[in-house]
Symmetry: D2
Subunit: 341 residues, 4 copies
């Protein structure tokens, strides 16, 4: 950390800053410049809380020079992490496609969709049993019955399943049934849930919060790794901006930045970014081209009748086309090499 | 809801939209215009999911004409809700000031600050026992020991206490000790927590999510009212924007809008909006002037030594000055009348 | 336009709204619903100013049901517009790559870079002669001398040139030298400049404003078409959001939306979105995959010595690699067909 | 500036950074830390372009430690700048209220409104003669005839007038008629216009761009001061965010930050921030309370008939009430002292 002093800071003010630094157990190193003095803060093992220094008399600015995350960082762990679910891998070297309905509505619905997406090329099946909904009056998911349907989908199709967990109370249950446990956007900084996920024996998929910086997102991931679970997938799903032609703005540049900063695999969710069907295929193509390790896409065989998110669900034939386009782009982007920055 | 058709929509496309509307149990009312047809959707008791219609062939746009919330709306409940905590009221007719440290660090710290803020004019005491922190390596609060200190503060000073709950697991405990239970920004859409709060027998203070629209915020509040708890306070604490000179951007216009849309009281938290001490007093003045029913402010007698948020904590003398300024502005803004829109 | 009344609106309030609508020369059509009345506004040739209605007593909401733009809309002009510059076309059916330095610094610099980008596959050359700079103390471009260098580049390499115009005063001069006249982000709503561009006899490239909605952007384009110049290219270059890991957030979903709403070609500028070199290639790949008609990329043979934007300029070898990747992705995305939505 | 090296940066990489720094004419000062090396860049008179360094091999981050603006900064010019227009002053020690219609529509309209706002307590009159409009089909202002009406308003009421200039072509004309020349939001970075304003012999009011940081805004102001015109007023008018319940989000914290960073007076424009009448009074109160030196408010005696921005224009009686509330709040906020940070 670097503390920049005012041009007119007095020697007493500079001394005081040095004292506060040392009282925290760090080393202070004043750096006289042309116009003003800056003071380096060294020997800090974890990140220094800048707030104390920012408001000391004579201080103009406080500047961080290191990242606060450790276990998730590529500096700490240079090799790509690869997640394994049965025969499927997520990480470098292949494109993993996850597809299925927003919510599990019935056994027939789930099995119908699962067979279609498998045939089209999906590697894993998604479907919500516990659904976070903006309105208390909306369909909230089938709960345990939904999990049982997911188990049946896996048994009949061989597809591994990913489903969302909403709270600690139902975590054991979700962990029992899911192959990958999803933590949703609205829970990205539900720290109690993150701690529980750190103890899980299944891979976790952590969606980015709607207004989270990459640093905050990686710090949320750090909670899970710090808890002992290193099987973590990050999922970019769009951020909230002033833009109103899509539900959220898919932040494609997050993909190369996360790949540079972290060893964890990163996929995107173009369905939730778009919020409407006709943007999902273009955003999927962009995601593969920018270097994502995978896609998670909502598909429904009767989207007009879907109990949630019907407008952003692809028809099975559209998903088939999406898979073809995605694989073609992935092939020419190169396996990892051309995807490099 | 209104469904706007393309200029070139065919009669078949229009018929199809009417059919889908009716298949959902609503009434369709086509409205021919000069250039294009629009179709009204009537008899919908709860909000219609627009997503299904948005993507039907020939549909240009889907427009909501009603709000999705009910119990929280002023249309449903015209009179102001007033919250009572002992002798203190929050709602119209007075300005309620809540103050205290970010986190409870020790009995001495809490009691020292409590006495100072009480003397300066605070009506309620705030202090975190369970702390949501971006980093797993930061101080996470004293937990139950913190709650016991809060009880002692109440016993010794007579001030009611507000403290944050982070999860369902510790909800009973927090509910036992707190006079007002706070749900933080990052948990605004933790729906399991909201449902639990709907069963609580204590007033709840629901902070606005960092990227939440007012509609989403009121829908989160609807979860709590729908659960049976009508003692709810809303707290505006700044939203995330591109602006980088304050930690968040205090959305002052949210105050008159919420007061118009809802009967629930609304306070602001200038400390978290600012993120640095020297903006807290100006933002507090602005909050009172814009019509907030109260303020929640962080105060620490030794902010350089605070275990969290030291940079945004006021010194007790500053808080004294804040109280004087806030009360003077409140007085001339009128009790409710001049605060009206 | 649709005017939604309060549930408790009185018949007098409804009558008054009808009167105001008719006083403006429109037709009012009240639509009684289950709970409240809405009033349609018909026979409006241009967009109705909603502001008058929004604040009439008893009005809850005002809802637009038509788009304000005409000449730029696909509803008005269904076929794709194709721009021709010599042998090069921009529009459907091929991928157009524009490359060159941020600023023209010298004849040697410009010619060196032009030859390299031509060899790598660029179709047009970019380079600023008049530079809009945040600071008055930064290099402001070579002005007319820069334009003359651009003419020499064209003469020696055969590449058409695109360069920015900053004001009406120098418009004639820029128009004389440029093959495509660029209007920058900060001037997107410089309406005097847009009117002048509407009279230009050269194609114009209009960059999206940093905080412009697509509707505002298309309305700015409408100024140019309304002035008589239909040779217009739109350029998405990233929007301002809370995100801080890239200079701006490339809004990839703008590409399919603009292609659906308008007949005008749309390219992207990944260099300005990224602001740093290592994101430019991934964002270029994403742009092509999402369906852009072209790319505009900054390239410099000695970026460390560049007088502006050196950090986001690619080395010529990187640009060569970009061209290969972009063309490969374009090929598999299909010429227009697979790019369709 | 400080250049932070990767943990694993090699001595060669560090040497190379030092060489590039020195090749630019600066002094390099390496600062070995616990884990990594940082390199200070000294003796830079103007701001160093960081882009060159950010992408050198081994560089992790580049950190600015000084502000890029000079003439506008309080470090450079500690005393408050006070603007004088006849007997009216803008700056510390009083609250200046500017009011009038969005656009000058006729002599009768302008004089009617001017008399009403003068009586209510306005110090200056606003009214647009040249109007920047999103749509080419909207009313664009009366032009020179509007300026002549402004002159008549001044002659008859004694109120100084402020009006917007849109381009260099009409600058002489506007400068001749106006007492204060306004540069609008969309032109904040129209650098040609800023340079012309730097030569003006009248005070200038520079509105903040819709997505401008305070640093960019102050740099735009620097253009004007650098040109020789030091009579400059800054005007906060709301920024673009995801928030949709007001047209823009009034960034109240910009007021104390600008007052700390700069010696220039700062006013707010609550009308354009709100975009609807019923938020204007609360936002005006907030603006005064947060420490603004003045307000600029839209008033119309017949807002339903206004040719632009009718929905955000106050009725004269509302403006009267606004003036009373604003003055009462200003009085208790203290003249400067209590407004201090």
């Amino acid at each position: 950390m670097l503390i920049v002093m005012d041009k007119v800071a007095t020697p007493e003010q500079i001394d005081n800053v040095v004292k506060v630094i040392e009282s925290k157990g760090y080393t202070a190193r004043p750096i006289p410049g042309g116009e003003r003095v800056a003071i380096g803060v060294l020997r800090n093992e974890s990140q220094v809380d800048d707030s104390v220094f920012q408001v000391l008399p004579g201080v103009k600015d406080v500047v961080h020079v290191t990242r606060p995350y450790k276990l998730v960082s590529r500096e700490f762990h240079p090799e790509d992490t690869i997640i394994r679910v049965g025969d499927v891998t997520i990480g470098n070297g292949n494109l993993t496609i996850i597809a299925g309905p927003c919510a599990i509505e019935s056994e027939v619905q789930a099995l119908t969709i699962a067979e279609k997406v498998k045939k089209a090329g999906a590697h894993l099946f998604r479907g919500g049993a516990f659904k976070p909904r903006t309105s208390p009056y909306s369909f909230q998911g089938l709960g345990k019955a939904g999990l049982e349907i997911l188990a049946k989908v896996r048994a009949e199709t061989g597809l591994g399943v990913i489903t969302e967990v909403m709270d600690e109370e139902t975590f054991d249950l979700v962990e029992e049934y899911a192959d990958i446990i999803q933590i949703g956007t609205r829970n990205m900084q539900n720290f109690s849930l993150l701690r529980r996920a750190g103890k899980a024996r299944k891979p976790v998929c952590l969606k980015r919060g709607m207004a989270a910086t990459i640093q905050e997102w990686l710090m949320a991931a750090e909670y899970i790794l710090e808890g002992g679970n290193t099987d973590l997938i990050l999922c970019e799903r769009g951020v909230r901006t002033f833009v109103n032609h899509s539900r959220n703005t898919l932040d494609v540049s997050a993909v190369p930045v996360v790949r540079q900063e972290s060893h964890l695999p990163i996929i995107t969710d173009p369905s939730h970014a778009a919020g409407r069907r006709n943007q999902v295929i273009p955003l999927s193509r962009a995601s593969v081209a920018v270097g994502a390790h995978g896609l998670m896409v909502e598909v429904h065989h009767e989207p007009e009748k879907a109990k949630s998110d019907g407008a952003q669900s692809l028809y099975p034939e559209q998903f088939e086309s999406l898979c073809e386009q995605a694989k073609a782009i992935y092939a020419v982007s190169g396996n990892g090499e051309a995807n490099s920055l």
